[in-house]
């Protein structure tokens, strides 16, 4: 039960943090169509996060973060989203990286959605009915995200000389965060044995295949950058994040925390 709650948090936080990052594009996108598309992706991920956080809450994950000064009516999803410090977020560090420019964002969406699509596709067939249902809904959403961003990767990679450089730089910047996607946390390892979770080490082939198809069409090369290292063997899944997450949460949680006794 604790393992399953932790696994729900991992999947939820991956989506919540990525959604928050994408929301930063609001009113800043290069075209109105991109405003709409990026908000769509942020909304889909937020939707995934909410169901998964509630599930984690049902499994007891929110209790340790509730305090006596908090409104009792505060939902589990909000307790978990707003009253956990970054050290308790279990998302991969890819999710929290600074998106930088539009090219980097597109590289990031391609990598993120390709990976999560493979994960959700696997989850759809496993034994937990709630996770399977979340996954069934998420699969077409993620397939859309991947297609959308891949379209821009091709246009920017094979557009102007300048956009080509930025698109390559975008993949170069994202690349160091991919290694962590394929590391199995002990929680995952136990749940894989129980037939409830997808083995992250099995997901690499699918991202490799997607990029092997996409990058040549976009006239880009596969990045060669060293992976971001862990801190004493611990990474995002253990709550050891990059500095970016703490700064992001400072903003995200500010208002909710200013009024712990309130619901909205």
């Amino acid at each position: 039960r604790d393992d399953l709650a932790a696994y729900c948090l991992m999947l939820a936080d991956d989506a919540l943090v990525a959604s928050q990052r994408l929301s930063e594009w609001s009113t800043n996108a290069p075209e109105l169509e991109e405003e709409v598309a990026l908000a769509n992706i942020a909304l889909d991920l937020l939707g995934q996060a909410r169901v998964l956080l509630s599930r984690a809450g049902h499994l007891g994950a929110a209790e340790r973060f509730r305090t006596t000064t908090m409104a009792p009516a505060l939902s589990d999803e909000d307790v978990l989203a707003y009253f956990r410090d970054d050290r308790f977020f279990r998302s991969v560090t890819l999710a929290e990286m600074d998106l930088g420019d539009f090219a980097r964002t597109m590289a990031w969406i391609v990598v993120y959605s390709s990976w999560r699509l493979a994960l959700m596709t696997g989850l759809r067939g496993l034994s937990d009915p709630v996770l399977a249902a979340v996954a069934a809904k998420a699969v077409p959403e993620l397939a859309y995200q991947r297609e959308y961003a891949a379209g821009w990767v091709v246009r920017l990679g094979d557009g102007t000389e300048y956009s080509h450089e930025r698109m390559q730089a975008g993949f170069d910047a994202v690349w160091p965060f991919t290694e962590e996607l394929f590391l199995a946390h002990p929680v995952e390892t136990r749940l894989v044995e129980a037939g409830v979770a997808v083995d992250p080490t099995s997901l690499r082939a699918s991202l490799d295949a997607d990029l092997a198809q996409l990058l040549p069409v976009a006239t880009l090369s596969r990045p060669e950058r060293p992976a971001v290292g862990l801190v004493g063997g611990r990474g995002g899944r253990d709550g050891v994040h990059t500095e970016a997450l703490g700064r992001m949460l400072a903003i995200m949680q500010s208002l909710a925390r200013a009024h712990p006794d309130a619901t909205w």
Partner: protein, 315 residues
Amino acid sequence: MDHDDQLLADFDATVAAEGRIEPRDWMPEGYRKTLIRQIAQHAHSEIIGMQPEGNWILRAPSLRRKAILLAKVQDEAGHGLYLYSATETLGVDRTELTEKLIDSRQKYSSIFNYPTLTFADIGVIGWLVDGAAICNQVPLCRSSYGPYARAMVRICKEESFHQRQGFELLMTLMAGTDAQREMVQDAVNRWWWPSLMMFGPADGDSPNTQQSMAWRIKRHTNDELRQRYVDMSMPQAEALGVTFPDPELRWNAERGSYDYGEIDWDEFTAVVKGAGPCNAQRLAHRRAAHENGQWVRDAASAYAAKQATREEVAA
């Protein structure tokens, strides 16, 4: 009666009979220009209007409210898209209009030159600002220009939805903590007068109204719409438990309407002329987004051109 006169007579007859003018139809140049100006201003308002609300997306205090706000701001981008498309049927494209916006050659609704200072502002924008917009826009669903009228039908439906969401947020806050209730009243105090200004100058100072009404681009005077808005808002304020910051606001049984105080037209004029609290900020933000996106749009054009060449070669 020569050919041009005949065209004008046909146009006038269609309009008078509440018929629709379509892009392929002949229309007077003044009608076209007035429409372009009005639709562009409306489109710009949707786009600039994303900013005050966007200010709270990253800080929305619950995930449900974050989703609602994100979707609302997204809808506004969508409204901008429909409206710019409507102007395209009149022969001007989005790029040209965007440049006019960021060079201050075209306007947007002055209301968006006020800042959103608390999350209650999000509710009040939904309730009052969208409410005022709906009062202005519902009659436009019967605009004589077909593409505009059709865009407005869709937009009004979504705006009503946004207004209900805003009101629901305020109801929640009013049922919440003292701090939340204070936030709501404070937001209402700041937005009430600017929302009244959304209907434009008093009828006596609005010289274009008559022509626009004759063309069925506009259907009511500014003051008529403003009165309708005040009458509609008062019972809602009572239901919420907030007051409007106007000591002269009271029921006039004789008129069957609410009387209200004098609008600060100096403030209105200042904001329209660019000296509002956020004019410079809003335009600078929009300009930066546009300029920062230039290389992306250039790349898309370059790619499209390459693809066209490749297809030609392949053919």
